[in-house]
Amino acid sequence: MERRKFLSITLGTLALAVVPASVKAEDYRKLKPTVWTAHTVDEAIKAMYGSTTLTMEGVTLKAPDVASNGGAIPVDFSTDKDVKTIAVFQDANPEAAVLVVETNKYSVNKYSIKIKMAKSGTITIVAEGKDGKLYAAKKTLDVALGGCEG
């Protein structure tokens, strides 16, 4: 198991042509700058993973149906699949990407974050499985008071 993981990590690192193998942090802002400037969720997913074929299973997403304050919307997401990365997108703000988590062998893949949304919209979580599939979950919510304009 250790060896398999080591191999996959090494291959991933090689494929991305990142510097030393000991570097663990892959900064997705530098690595894939187009993801962060994409304006729609589809574009962002495509920039991140090269495909928009999503499998709607394996990912749990929890967010309120109605958010009274768009400045801080609690979002919980988790997955039980064997994944490489998990990305969070939404379609209410000027750009779509919110964050990308790179998992590692210690990860439990259960996260809670707080995000901003300017208006009502849909949150999309995409988890890239080690089998190459994109697992996803979506949730549409109403935002009573937009949080992006300060």
């Binding site: 663990k24 942090a25 892959e26 900064d27 997705y28 802002r29 962060w36 400045g71 801080a72 919307i73 939404q90 703000n93 000027p94 750009e95 990407a97 919110v98 964050l99 990308v100 988590v101 790179e102 590692n104 062998k105 210690y106 990860s107 439990v108 259960k110 996260y111 809670s112 974050i113 707080k114 995000i115 901003k116 949304m117 300017a118 949080g147 992006c148 304009e149 300060g150």
Partner: protein, 104 residues
């Protein structure tokens, strides 16, 4: 060491970490409205957490996290009571924020 407040708890072999970064998280739109220039936007772009030198969390983020964002995450197979979780966040201007928590 100001910047990140964090708590870590070990339960059933899983370390649960809760962290809050004190940061304005100014989006481009907000910066334009308040200061007249989009260049004044500033937000956390990367968060990294380590236990005993091993990375347990790597997160690249954008401006759409809330102000003073809170993160909760879990990791297993590493860390014992008394070990420290080190957190480092970097913002758009290159400033780093550090925080640590002792696992309880």
């Amino acid at each position: 060491m100001a910047g990140i407040k964090a708590k870590a708890k070990l339960k059933g072999g899983v370390v649960k970490v809760k962290a809050m970064i004190k940061h304005e998280m100014m989006t481009y739109n907000m910066a334009e409205k308040k200061t007249g220039s989009r260049d004044n936007a500033n937000f956390i772009t990367h968060l990294n957490a380590t236990i005993n030198g091993e990375t347990v969390l790597d997160m690249s983020t954008s401006q759409f996290l809330s102000k003073n964002p809170i993160f909760k995450f879990q990791c297993k197979g590493i860390g014992a009571k008394g070990d420290k979780v080190l957190l480092v966040a970097t913002d758009l201007k290159g400033k780093t924020y550090k925080g640590k928590a002792k696992i309880k």
